[in-house]
């Protein structure tokens, strides 16, 4: 059924469903379980589809808009049917899910139809809250800079942006739009418009917002008087078109002058040169929208411009720094030449040219606002503005920015009085056509370098990076991770996150392209290949290599032509299809409902399709657990499994899961023939896995366990410790409440390889958040080491694996069974990070069949 048709009948269905309430629990048991199984199957298909869509972000795949549309439809269709299944199991109980579905589905359809749901933007936004998608609202220049500050974490000026929404409000409030929309914007009309803008007044809302923002900055500045640089940030400025020097900007302005300067900056959008530029580039007048950035003045000791690839000496492949004393304006405008340093693009960035010029004057901020030229003291005139260490620091920062934007960059920077570099602006250098010369002999260059491996593993983030190999084995290796190196690691551990922005590339032995690490790599756009199987074994520390995460190849040596070739391509991340799938995934993939014991775990709290899926899965299992097998005369009686470990487990056989001899209310493990169940039990009962040593729980943990329990709706006596397995010959669904953990295993194993899967979910536990997240990390790393695809959100861990042959699936189920037993009380133990490592080793030894020591 098509989605839109589906929507029209939803209300009718809801009405019909509410009638079913009266017949609650009349559903025959067999139907109930068939529905449950169907629900689980859909659950898995949804997770698969979401993961498959997520994979497309890595850049390995070629896909088009049709793919995005049909994937959304598929997921939407499945989620809808999933809700229907839950309604069959618990008629009328979760009807609000349809509203959640309708809301999310509508948002996705709007995105696909090209009508992105943008909330009307605030008039003033502080830099630190600007997100990647706000380009339209804050203008190109500020959007770029905000990414440098907020994503890459490099120092940028403090301040706020007066948004394009504010610009439009101003133009409407003062009734200037009509003049702008005139057929031809002549010089005379332009002058008139500038006059109207200068006389215009700010809409009251904007005035208030502006006042609030400057007050906040003043508070941060303390006793010293606040001065701001007021700079243009128009639509498309610095990204698609440069508009270089078309608009006005003002340095070191006192707050009292802010409104006047603001009007002058937006007025400069109608200067003759700006109008002419637009006419030449085919930009319509009503496409003009001016954001204005207000940055706290930086009292720069040195300022300058850095090109990460010097256009003047392209064939030398160096970066160039121009630097002067004081503020940078005279250098940017070309009034004074400044020092010129050429640096190698590769670490350690040797100086390849040093041209120190005599610097007679410098621009400085005036005490009462504005700027003034001062003469440079004699001893500084011929001194280089930057020393070697400073050049190196600046070079490393610049390459972090270049790697992220995937184009050579033109960067304005300042060195403040505390010796900190601050990025003032960055934009791509337009070298596309000239770059072609650098890559003309690409094929030959590629053939000159031996391939270390090819087609191993999965691309998590596309791109090309070259550098020296650094193999990271523990936390210590990360402290001095050199900028620009290639990070090589066995696992894709979340703790590697802190070095990711410094790496030119990442290779791991295991891991999945949807894991946490891959998400971080994408955040910083660092070329990453995971799951190579052998990177740590075949690469030597210090070896210079090139990671081509476009074609999934690792070369020996630095294939610089490949790196440059990448500059000539339109970055995949900038393509319409990439942005589209990213936007719809925001409504599909994020998991916000983590903990069933929290207040937001409701249909109304569902903000994505993943949330709905998770909610339905949780509730379906809960409904089954609530069936009260003993008290009610059900047609599929539960049997108690006799186990050598203290685990009360009820088992329901849907068919073929138990030996036919298994009659009565109790069964022996040996009578279990369900393939996944049998393997899980074997793993659970493996020697040493079920730890019997008593755990000392400290007082804090104990208290936190109490509060968690009592606030929980699931803590009713009949529910605690209720463990249930539903099995058939090929299937198992196991729900466990071990201590305070919630653990679900769901698996299907048959001879049909494509149908096989295993799903593992773990949540909760006594003790503080830190220990719980350590345990989550441990679980994630153990699961990844066993080839599971792992997702970690807080202390929720989800591992999935599929399409292995029966023998290997059985092996995985044994591992999962062992993990269940092994991690039962682990969070209590997890007092330090070191504990994670040693525990991991212990599990490895036990899993390999080593018999545990007895103390």
């Amino acid at each position: 059924m098509h989605i839109s048709q589906m929507m029209t009948v939803i209300d009718k269905l809801k009405k019909a469903f509410s009638l079913r309430k009266r017949h609650r629990r009349q559903v025959p048991f067999v139907v109930l379980f068939k529905t449950f199984q169907g629900l689980l199957e859909k659950n898995n298909r949804i997770l698969d589809s979401i993961a498959a869509m997520g994979d497309k972000l890595g850049g390995d795949y070629v896909f088009d808009k049709n793919y995005v549309v049909s994937s959304c439809q598929e997921v939407s269709d499945l989620v809808y049917k999933l809700i229907y299944d839950l309604d069959t199991i618990a008629p009328g109980k979760y009807l609000d899910l349809y509203d959640a579905f309708q809301r999310i589905n509508h948002e996705i359809e709007e995105e696909l139809a090209g009508r992105p749901v943008i909330a009307r933007a605030d008039y003033v936004i502080p830099f630190e809250t600007i997100s990647r998608d706000s380009g339209d609202v804050v203008g190109g220049k500020i959007a770029n800079l905000a990414e440098v500050g907020n994503i890459l974490g490099l120092p940028t000026p403090e301040g706020f942006v007066i948004t394009t929404s504010a610009f439009k409000a101003f133009m409407e409030y003062n009734k200037i739009w009509d003049r702008v929309r005139q057929e031809s914007l002549t010089a005379k009309v332009g002058k008139e418009i500038r006059g109207l803008i200068a006389q215009g007044s700010l809409p009251p809302d904007l005035k208030r917002a502006l006042q609030k923002s400057t007050e906040k900055l003043q508070q941060a500045a303390g006793d010293s008087k606040l001065f701001l640089a007021v700079r243009s940030s128009a639509w498309g400025e610095d990204s698609i078109h440069t508009f270089a020097g078309q608009f006005k900007s003002y340095l070191n302005q006192p707050v009292e002058k802010l409104v006047e300067r603001y009007k002058e900056v937006i007025g400069s959008a109608y200067s003759p040169s700006a109008t002419e530029y637009r006419a030449k580039k085919g930009i319509a007048e009503d496409e003009v929208a001016m954001g204005v950035g207000c940055q706290v003045t930086i009292d720069a000791e040195v300022s300058g411009v850095l090109y990460t690839l010097d256009p003047a000496t392209l064939e030398r492949e160096v970066m160039v720094i121009n630097a002067i004393w004081g503020l940078g304006a005279p250098l940017v405008s070309g009034e004074v030449p400044g020092d010129r340093y050429l640096l190698s693009r590769t670490p350690p960035h040797e100086v390849e040219g040093l041209n120190v010029r005599r610097k007679l004057t410098m621009l400085s901020p005036k005490e009462d606002g504005g700027t003034e030229a001062r003469s440079v003291p004699d001893d500084l005139q011929m001194r280089p503005c930057l020393d070697r260490e400073e050049m190196l620091r600046l070079a490393e920062m610049a390459l972090v920015i270049e790697r992220y934007f995937k184009k050579p960059q033109d960067i304005e920077w300042a060195l403040d009085r505390k010796g900190q570099f601050i990025i003032l602006q960055t934009r791509p250098l337009n070298l596309q056509t000239r770059m072609a010369n650098l890559v003309c002999n690409l094929t030959a260059a590629v053939q000159d370098h031996p391939v270390i491996f090819r087609g191993q593993g999965d691309i998590a983030q596309r791109g090309v990076g070259a550098g020296n190999v650094v193999i990271v084995r523990d936390d210590e290796d990360m402290e001095d991770f050199p900028a620009g190196a290639i990070l090589v690691s066995k696992y894709t551990s979340p703790r590697l996150a802190k070095v990711v922005p410094r790496a030119s590339g990442i290779l791991t032995d295991v891991g999945s392209p949807t894991g946490h690490m891959a998400t971080i790599a994408r955040e910083f756009r660092v070329p990453t290949i995971v799951n190579t199987g052998k990177a740590t074994r075949v690469l030597r520390p210090g070896q210079e290599i090139t990671v081509d995460a476009e074609e999934n190849v690792v070369y020996d040596g630095r294939v610089k032509e490949l790196c440059y070739y990448e500059f000539t391509e339109e970055p995949f991340e900038e393509s319409y299809e990439y942005r589209l799938i990213l936007r719809v995934l925001k409504k599909i993939a994020p998991l916000n409902l983590l903990n069933p014991r929290e207040k937001n775990f409701t249909p109304g709290g569902c903000r994505s399709f993943h949330d709905i899926t998770r909610f339905v899965h949780e509730k379906a299992v809960e409904e089954l657990l609530n069936l009260e097998f003993h008290e009610r005369n059900l047609d599929a009686p539960a049997k108690r499994l006799k186990l050598p470990i203290p685990l009360g487990l009820l088992l329901i056989d849907m068919g073929g899961g138990l030996e036919e001899s298994a009659a009565g209310s109790q069964v022996e493990p040996a009578q279990v023939v369900s393939l996944p169940m049998k393997a899980t039990l074997e793993g659970m009962m493996a020697p040493g896995m079920w730890s019997t040593e008593p755990m000392s729980v400290d007082f804090g943990s104990f208290m936190s366990s109490l509060t968690r329990t009592f606030s929980s709706s699931l803590a009713t006596p009949k529910y605690m410790g209720q463990n249930l397995a539903i099995v058939s010959k090929e299937y198992m669904n196991l729900s466990l409440r071990l201590g305070y953990h919630f653990n679900i295993l769901d698996a299907y194993i048959s001879d049909e390889v494509n149908d096989n899967y295993a799903y593992f979910r773990f949540l909760g536990g006594v003790t503080d958040l830190q220990r719980r997240s350590r345990r989550a990390r441990l679980l994630a790393e153990l699961l990844e080491a066993h080839d599971f695809r792992v997702d970690v959100r807080g202390d929720l861990v989800v591992g999935r694996i599929k399409k292995l042959d029966a023998a290997r699936m059985v092996e995985k189920m044994r591992t999962l069974g062992s993990l269940v037993s092994f991690t039962r009380q682990l969070d209590v133990k997890m007092v330090s990070d070191a504990e994670v490592e040693s525990t991991k080793e212990t599990f490895g030894r036990l899993a390999a069949g080593e018999v545990p020591e007895r103390n």
Partner: protein, 127 residues
């Protein structure tokens, strides 16, 4: 065909993203690539020039992929055609294979996969 000449590849897909992502991958692998979004333009081009390998979508506005590949095979039977499509059915797969198509790839696909197929097609052309 002499070995010093680069293998000539034509890509036709009405979604520019498809050839934008394919062209660089093929160029890096040493192929000379021309890409088209309009099937009529691609049709004109194959009438002017013989390509070794043609990669085409099936479902497009105007001249559809099936028509295009039929024409290519008539003009130059040696040219190997690789079909890429987002709407793969058994029927279209069968029909295109009957027309002598080298391979049939469902979208979305990995760039590496397509590159492998192009290499195999190249080996066949160069036999």
């Amino acid at each position: 065909m002499s070995d010093d000449r680069k293998t000539q590849v034509l890509i036709l897909d009405d979604e520019p993203i498809v050839w934008k992502r394919l062209k660089p991958a093929l160029e890096k692998a040493g192929y000379e690539v021309e890409a088209f979004t309009q099937s009529s333009n691609a049709m004109r081009r194959v009438q002017e020039k013989e390509f070794d390998i043609v990669v085409t979508d099936l479902k497009m506005e105007g001249i559809d992929g099936m028509q295009f590949l039929t024409e290519v095979k008539t003009l130059s039977p040696k040219t190997e055609v690789i079909v890429i499509t987002g709407f793969a059915t058994m029927e279209t797969a069968k029909e295109s294979l009957q027309k002598g198509v080298f391979d049939f790839v469902a979208k979305p696909f990995k760039r590496g996969e397509l590159l492998e197929i192009v290499k195999k097609a190249e080996a066949k052309v160069r036999q």
